[in-house]
């Protein structure tokens, strides 16, 4: 089934991944997994240099229709983050913003993050945010309430707190869950389906830190109906990002 992967990174990892160009690697994985669109953030931006990383991603996305971009923004650099959003969100292949609380070292409830979130809500229709636990998910719930026009995807679905993330997604119409995670805990997706429904879940893999087949395996294990697969693998994300429908 055709897929949209909402959680992808472009860059090099400190892991034994076969050496090849990171863009070629992503494209190869997209082809293998039937991923029509991979929405990426730059790992260089997350780990080291926001501007350089966003620029590198912009170049890749401009050259490859399958690759879409999140502008990475960092609460430690508010003015520069706003400038990055202004620069890239005007481009059709940038479709949202990415925030990583741990790698920026700014907690979800810090004043700097609140300022950044206000700016993100002004500039971007979509935010993918790394969530480690229920605290992060609850904090994003508060932002979702404050900024109803902003769609927030809870990356990793708060890890082992995914039940709480699902409850937050049920409450807030503008919150969605992405289940890529190093921990493939059996049953977490079935419970989320029961709590918030397939309409609040999107397919994210964290590739190429994670093999897409690993996350796909979690969804296969959850025994999705065909309709649920269609929604989770493609339709929900297509709607969020304004992408063509499955048969479009």
């Amino acid at each position: 089934m055709k897929k949209i992967d909402v959680h992808v990174h472009l860059g090099y990892w400190p892991c034994p991944i076969p050496s090849m160009d990171p863009v070629d690697r992503l494209l190869q994985l997209c082809d293998r997994e039937n991923i029509a669109y991979a929405v990426c953030s730059s790992f260089l931006a997350l780990c080291y240099d926001m501007q350089e990383g966003n620029a590198e991603l912009a170049k890749a996305a401009a050259e490859h229709q399958q690759l879409l971009g999140y502008v990475y923004v960092n609460a430690n650099y508010l003015d520069q983050s706003v400038a990055e959003m202004e620069r890239y969100l005007a481009l059709e292949y940038f479709v949202g913003v990415k925030i990583h609380t741990r790698l920026s070292g700014v907690a979800g409830n810090a004043p700097e993050m609140a300022e950044l979130m206000a700016a993100v809500a002004q500039w971007s229709p979509v935010l993918l945010v790394h969530t480690t636990d229920q605290n992060a998910a609850q904090q994003m719930g508060r932002y979702a309430e404050a900024y109803p026009q902003l769609t927030i995807i809870l990356g990793h679905a708060a890890h082992t707190d995914s039940d709480e993330a699902a409850r937050i997604a049920r409450i807030h119409p503008n919150i969605y869950l992405d289940f890529c995670c190093g921990w493939p805990g059996a049953g977490k997706i079935e419970r989320a389906l029961a709590i918030c429904g397939a309409e609040k879940i999107v397919f994210g893999t964290d590739m190429d830190l994670h093999a897409p087949a690993f996350t796909r395996g979690m969804f296969e294990g959850a025994g999705l109906t065909e309709e649920q697969q269609k929604m989770i693998y493609y339709d929900n994300a297509a709607q969020i990002f304004g992408l063509p429908a499955q048969n479009g």
Binding site: C15, P16, A107, G185, D208, F214
Partner: protein
């Protein structure tokens, strides 16, 4: 033949997982909050259902009772499960911290037919380089057995445990430490890597290219984890059918002392 080398069954008092403990421990900025929990069905019935669903021919399994409470009763429970369900191959466990009775339990298990011993130093709070465990290894080295240990200290496993001579399987290496597994496997022929969390894209196929397929063995961590997630890592890897077959069962069959159970 599909062989899953990493499964368990039993109960948990806290609905709290080892991974969840880690997540709770690394909460950012000391924000307060309840411990993270997940509902997991660890029952033997659920394990058997998972194995049947995926047509697993044999699963190496242990009772959580042995890990979390009493290894003698736990090994007994594991043994009974193996007797009642031929697809289960019982794995014994010993907690070296108890000291008294460890040697006798090893002998009792070996006499009964246990051939795999699995240890939990991280969860039980002891070190694999501590003398009590090394004495257990001396004892085990007298028998035709293999040992399973958690990944996370592969270099120590290689330098301290592999010289005992029995085959050792490191369970659960992931992106934080799989490089260590590659290097240790290249250095020690009796070191094996279980694959359930080698989930970085194409790392399993890269490992096969680097060290060969013969030191990789499939485990799913069922019923805690989605079986399919671990299975796909091997089944969908860019590998020949022969290499996949080896990882999914052939290697366990060849390199672990399972003859009596197959």
């Amino acid at each position: 033949m599909l062989i899953d080398i990493s499964t368990c069954f039993g109960k948990s008092p806290k609905k709290r997982l080892r991974y969840a403990n880690g997540v709770t421990g690394m909460r950012m900025f000391g924000e307060p909050g309840p411990p993270t929990t997940q509902e997991i069905d660890w029952s033997l019935d659920n394990l058997l259902a998972v194995l049947d669903k995926h047509q697993v021919d044999r699963a190496l399994t242990y009772s959580l009772r042995g890990k979390m409470y009493d290894f003698v009763d736990g090994n007994e429970e594991t043994w009974q499960a193996g007797q009642n369900h031929p697809q289960l191959i019982p794995v014994a466990t010993i907690d070296p911290q108890r000291y008294f009775g460890c040697r006798e339990e090893i002998q009792r298990c070996v006499d009964r037919g246990f051939r795999i011993f699995r240890f939990f130093p991280d969860e039980q709070g002891w070190s694999i380089s501590a003398l009590p465990f090394l004495k257990i290894c001396e004892e085990l080295a007298e028998h035709d057995v293999a040992v399973m240990l958690p990944a996370g200290g592969q270099t120590t496993i290689g330098t301290v445990i592999c010289p005992f001579g029995f085959n050792v399987v490191a369970i659960g290496a992931g992106y934080a430490n799989v490089t260590e597994s590659i290097v240790v496997a290249a250095e020690y022929e009796n070191f094996f890597c279980e694959t359930s969390l080698i989930h970085t894209a194409d790392t399993i196929s890269a490992m096969v290219a680097e060290i060969g397929a013969h030191q990789l063995v499939f485990g799913s961590n069922s019923p805690e984890s989605y079986f399919e997630a671990a299975y796909n890592l091997v089944a969908d890897a860019q590998l020949s059918a022969a290499h996949k077959d080896a990882i999914l069962g052939g290697n366990a069959r060849q390199y672990l002392p399972l003859e009596e159970w197959l």
